[in-house]
Every structure is written in structure tokens, then in C-alpha cells.
């Protein structure tokens, strides 16, 4: 692999994967702490009907209306989940299951009916993403990384994810204190006049934004994995929320890079000529990170716990 092919073909994909992982991974910390891990799962599923509707309404595969549609679908589903949970007095998981399966089913039917299936909209695409298709043909050398006019030719999905990531970092930085408070003790937050519902809703809105921005490039399964695995890994490594956020960010980016290389180079190293799904591989690597942490984390790993019990 020479520098130019790396820059032209691998670099944009790595950038996409890592950016998607980073944004979702940061927000995932609060989902995991609030026992809402599966909110990421539910939201990534309801993105499908949203984009199909966005397509049907505007008739274009332009990303903005489709993202708007997805965002609206995500918010509707969150409202519906809350409604079912309260009226049916069922656990949040069951309410989520009802909503996201139904909305996904609606998306599938809409897709079949609308003929949108022909224009690069299909279910498999929504699940698996299309990480490898990102290219940066204008790049001619590493010097281009510093030249704005050539950087501007990076795929639009990269720019979009970069902007969304900035928004996520700003959100977490500005509302760090509030997020921490409502995740730990929502009732107390309410007595302070810091509405736990408002902060919780803002978090879900950001999750929806992250999921919608990332899914087109990396697919919803990677989005789900990134909401959970880096945060869960970090949760096992530390008892400080700040440290946890940094670790999760590191794990997310490392999964993005290592996963991509494992997918691109792994088979060649094994001497077989094939390409495997990069998005899938990134999620698998994130899962491996978490497995290692579950077993070997200094204090909360299974081995450390066993040793403690024996003493």
C-alpha cells in the first residue's frame, strides 16, 4: 500500500469510521449510565422509515431532507416509547421493542412500495453502511492534509460527521455537569430546578443526530455497537466519569482504525484474497476491546474480581 492509494482510498474510510465511532461513543457513556443502552438500537432502527419518508416527500436522495425525516422519526419513536411505557406500565425495553420493530417494518414496506429501492436505498445498506465507498481522489500526498482547498474535496459525509462530532463534543462539554447530575439522581436534579426530562430529551436528540449522521456511512449496526461497546469498556476501567469519557473516546477511535485495517489487510495477511465488511470489523474490534476489559480490567475485570474473592 503506497501513500497515495492510502490517502485516496483508505484514509477517508478510516476517517469516516473513526468519526462515527467517536461521536456515538461519547454519547454512549450517558446511555450506558442511564440504562438506556438500547435507545441507540431503537433509534438506529427507526432511521429507516424516516429516510424513506424524507425521500418520498422531496423525491430526491439529497441527504438533508432524508436526515430531517430520520430525525423526526427518531423523535416520534421516543415519544411513542414513553407513551406506551406509561400507559401500558411495561418495562422500557418492551415499549422500545414494540415501537422500533413496527417503525422498521413500516420503513421496509414504504421502501418496497415507493420504488426507492432502486436508488441506493435499501435495507441492507441501512444495516451495513457503505464505509468503503468513501474516496478522496484529489489527494496526491500527505501534504494535502494541510491544504484546505484539497481537504474540501473529502467526501461530504466526512465533513458532515466532523461537524456533528463538534456539536457532540460541545454538547457534552457544556452540559457535562447537568448530564452527570440527571444520570445519577434525576429526582434531586428536579428539586434543583434542573429538569431531568429536559436534559434527558436533549441527550436523546443528540443521539438521534449522531445516529442519523453516521448511519449512512457506516450502517446502523456499527452505530449501535459504538453507542455501547466503547462506553461499556471505559465503564469497566475507571470510576471517574471524566476519565471514562476519555477512555471511551480512545477505544472508539482505536476501534475505527484497527477495525478498518483488520478488514482491509487481515485477509491478505492470511493469504486469501477477499474483502470483508469494514463496518462489521470495526464493531467486532470494539466488541473485542470490551471482552478484554470484561476479563482483564484492573478492578472490575472478572479475573481481578476472582482474585479479590480468593484473598
Amino acid at each position: 500500500m503506497d501513500a497515495i492509494t492510502f490517502l485516496q482510498f483508505d484514509f477517508p474510510s478510516i476517517l469516516l469510521g473513526s468519526l462515527a465511532a467517536l461521536g456515538c461513543g461519547l454519547l454512549g457513556n450517558f446511555l450506558v449510565l442511564r440504562r438506556q443502552s438500547l435507545m441507540g438500537d431503537a433509534i438506529s432502527h427507526v432511521v429507516l422509515p424516516g429516510i424513506v419518508l424524507g425521500f418520498l416527500v422531496t423525491g430526491t436522495v439529497d441527504s438533508l431532507p432524508m436526515m430531517l425525516g430520520a430525525g423526526v422519526a427518531a423523535l416520534i419513536s421516543v415519544g411513542l416509547i414513553e407513551l406506551i411505557r406509561r400507559l401500558g406500565r411495561v418495562e422500557p425495553g418492551a415499549a422500545m421493542g414494540v415501537v422500533f420493530t413496527s417503525m422498521f417494518a413500516a420503513g421496509v414496506l414504504l421502501l418496497e412500495q415507493s420504488g426507492a429501492g432502486g436508488v441506493h436505498l435499501d435495507v441492507e445498506h441501512a444495516l451495513y453502511g457503505n464505509l468503503e465507498s468513501a474516496v478522496w481522489l484529489e489527494a496526491t500526498g500527505f501534504g494535502d492534509l494541510l491544504r484546505p482547498e484539497i481537504l474540501a474535496d473529502l467526501p461530504v459525509s466526512v465533513t458532515r460527521l466532523a461537524v456533528v462530532n463538534l456539536a457532540i463534543v460541545a454538547f457534552v462539554a457544556l452540559l457535562y455537569k447537568e448530564l452527570k447530575l440527571v444520570s445519577f439522581d434525576p429526582l434531586f436534579a428536579d428539586t434543583l430546578g434542573i429538569s431531568s426530562r429536559l436534559v434527558g430529551t436533549l441527550l436523546i436528540v443528540m443521539v438521534a443526530v449522531a445516529a442519523v449522521a453516521a448511519f449512512d456511512a457506516v450502517g446502523s449496526i456499527l452505530v449501535i455497537a459504538m453507542f455501547i461497546c466503547p462506553a461499556a469498556t471505559a465503564r469497566l476501567m475507571t470510576d471517574r466519569l471524566g476519565t471514562q469519557l476519555w477512555i471511551s473516546a480512545g477505544v472508539a477511535v482505536a476501534s475505527g482504525i484497527l477495525g478498518y485495517f483488520a478488514a482491509a489487510l487481515g485477509p491478505q495477511l492470511l493469504g486469501v484474497d477477499m474483502s470483508v465488511s469494514a463496518a462489521g470489523m470495526i464493531a467486532v474490534v470494539a466488541g473485542l476491546f470490551q471482552t478484554v476489559a470484561m476479563l482483564l480490567a484492573p478492578r472490575y475485570g472478572v479475573l481481578a474480581r476472582r482474585r479479590l474473592q480468593r484473598v
Binding site: 434531586f188 475507571t238 470510576d239
Partner: protein
């Protein structure tokens, strides 16, 4: 004009339900009138009225399921109420958040949360700090001072899950102290704590009292009511009786609230304890 044929034993009941006049009393630290809270169309609290005596320590007692925690939560507008008016020094609760501090039950949060004792106490200052801003050095110093007040300064950097139950309770108390409120509502702060912590909590309560604060505590241990508190509120689905411990903490009121739960001898002993203290 009052309907007078509701006389005899009913007069007392009528009085117990009175206090609704105090609602608009702007001098009352916490006035609750006609509070009804229902879960699933079954009232947990029915027409409860109470006006907290200013600068006093009031124990809220009653059997399990009598609605004591619900009373605190509904007073704080944390859960919806079917009817009832609530005011803090004449202001609605939403406008008086800065005046009221709350100590929830220890079991209401996940202690495995990645936060230190100091982090949790600092949360008591979040309202003063304001949205979007991070706690500064001064805030941390104040939080540390509060930890010192409850004898926990040595544990400020400890993750909260690694503290004992009593220590966790002290952290919650320090968080409420950091709020520097006028009215303190505490939900079972004495539940499951060690003797040393119990003394430390009593010290804090006395200190609050000395500063002229009004404190309401949901309390389980009837024996210590006359020792720790000056006033008592008996709750069972509604307000049964309330007033100074010396007058109200009587065998009769205990019997009315707890019924067959307390043996007669125990009741007599508790009533005696109240009189001795008075």
C-alpha cells in the same frame, strides 16, 4: 359557619383536616393543603394538609405504605398530584427551588455511578453555579467544607460505591447542606445507618435548627421521635394529627395511626417517653 353535628370524636378529625387556612400564609416554610396523590386511581395520600412550624424539627411518622415519601415527593412537585396547593413562604414550589433542599432515600440512586463523594456534594451547588458552567475551585472548597461538617473529609475522593451505607447517607446530607436552603426535607436519613452516623446526623439537624432552618424528616424509629424532634406529623393515607411532640406524640395518636401494629404496652411506654421529655 361550621357544621356542628359533626361533633364529639369527629371534632378532632375535623381539626386534623384543618390547617387549610394556613395555605396562603406567606410566613409558613412549607404549607400543604388538601394534597391528594393517587397511583392508578388508588389514593396514596388523601386530602393531606399540614403547615410546617418554622424553625422546628418535625418528624413525619406512619406505617409502611402510609404515603410518607409520597408526601415529600408531592410537596416537592416531583410527582403529579391530583389536587392540593403547596407553598413555600407563600411562593409556589417551582418558584422556591432555591429555598428547599431534599435528601432522597439512599436506595433511590445507583451507587455504582462513577462519581466521588466530593462530586456528589458539589451537585448541591449546581443550581447556584447555573446552566452550562463548570464548578470552580470555590465550589469545590465549599463542597469540601460540607463534607467536613459531616465528618467525611477523609473520603472526599473515594468513589461513592466504596462507602458504607452510613457514609453514603452522610454524603447525601452534605449535599443538602451545600444547598444552603431554608427548608430541608429528608426521606428516612436514619434508615440502616450505624450509631456513629446517627449521632452525626443528629448533630447536623441540631446545627440546622440553630441556624433557624425548618426541617422535616420522614422517620421510622418511634422511640427516638421524642429525643430528636420537637414536632411530629402522623400520616396514614391522610394527616392523622400534627403538633408539638409534647402534646401530640401520645399513645392515642399512635394507636390511631398504627392501630394494631403496636402493642399497647409499647404505646404506653412511647407516650411516657414523650411526657418525660416535655
Amino acid at each position: 359557619m361550621k357544621i356542628d353535628h359533626v361533633s364529639g370524636g369527629a371534632t378532632k378529625i375535623a381539626l386534623a383536616e384543618a390547617g387549610r387556612r394556613d395555605v396562603l400564609d406567606p410566613g409558613s416554610p412549607l404549607a400543604v393543603a388538601g394534597l391528594t396523590v393517587a397511583y392508578d386511581r388508588k389514593p396514596v395520600l388523601w386530602n393531606a394538609s399540614f403547615s410546617a412550624p418554622e424553625g422546628e424539627l418535625t418528624a413525619i411518622v406512619g406505617p409502611n405504605g402510609a404515603g410518607k415519601s409520597t408526601f415529600l415527593k408531592a410537596s416537592l412537585s416531583l410527582i403529579p398530584r391530583l389536587s392540593g396547593e403547596i407553598s413555600v413562604y407563600g411562593k409556589p414550589m417551582e418558584a422556591a427551588r432555591g429555598d428547599v433542599a431534599y435528601v432522597p432515600q439512599r436506595s433511590s440512586v445507583d451507587w455504582d455511578f462513577p462519581a466521588t463523594a466530593l462530586d456528589v456534594v458539589t451537585m448541591g451547588l449546581y443550581r447556584q453555579i447555573g446552566w452550562f458552567r463548570w464548578p470552580g475551585r470555590k465550589d469545590r472548597e465549599r463542597a469540601r467544607a460540607m463534607l467536613e461538617l459531616v465528618g467525611m473529609e477523609a473520603f472526599s475522593d473515594r468513589q461513592i460505591g466504596q462507602l458504607s451505607g452510613g457514609q453514603q447517607q452522610r454524603v447525601f446530607l452534605a449535599r443538602a447542606l451545600a444547598q444552603d436552603a431554608r427548608v430541608y426535607l429528608m426521606d428516612e436519613p436514619f434508615a440502616g445507618v450505624d450509631a456513629a452516623t446517627e449521632r452525626a446526623i443528629v448533630d447536623v439537624l441540631r446545627k440546622l435548627l440553630a441556624e433557624g432552618k425548618t426541617v422535616l424528616v420522614v422517620h421510622h424509629d418511634l422511640e427516638t421521635v421524642p429525643l430528636y424532634f420537637s414536632h411530629v406529623l402522623f400520616l396514614n393515607a391522610g394527616t392523622v394529627a400534627s403538633g408539638p411532640v409534647t402534646e401530640t406524640f401520645t399513645a392515642e395518636n399512635l394507636q390511631k395511626t398504627y392501630g394494631g401494629r403496636l402493642a399497647a404496652t409499647q404505646l404506653a411506654a412511647l407516650g411516657e417517653a414523650a411526657k418525660v421529655r416535655g
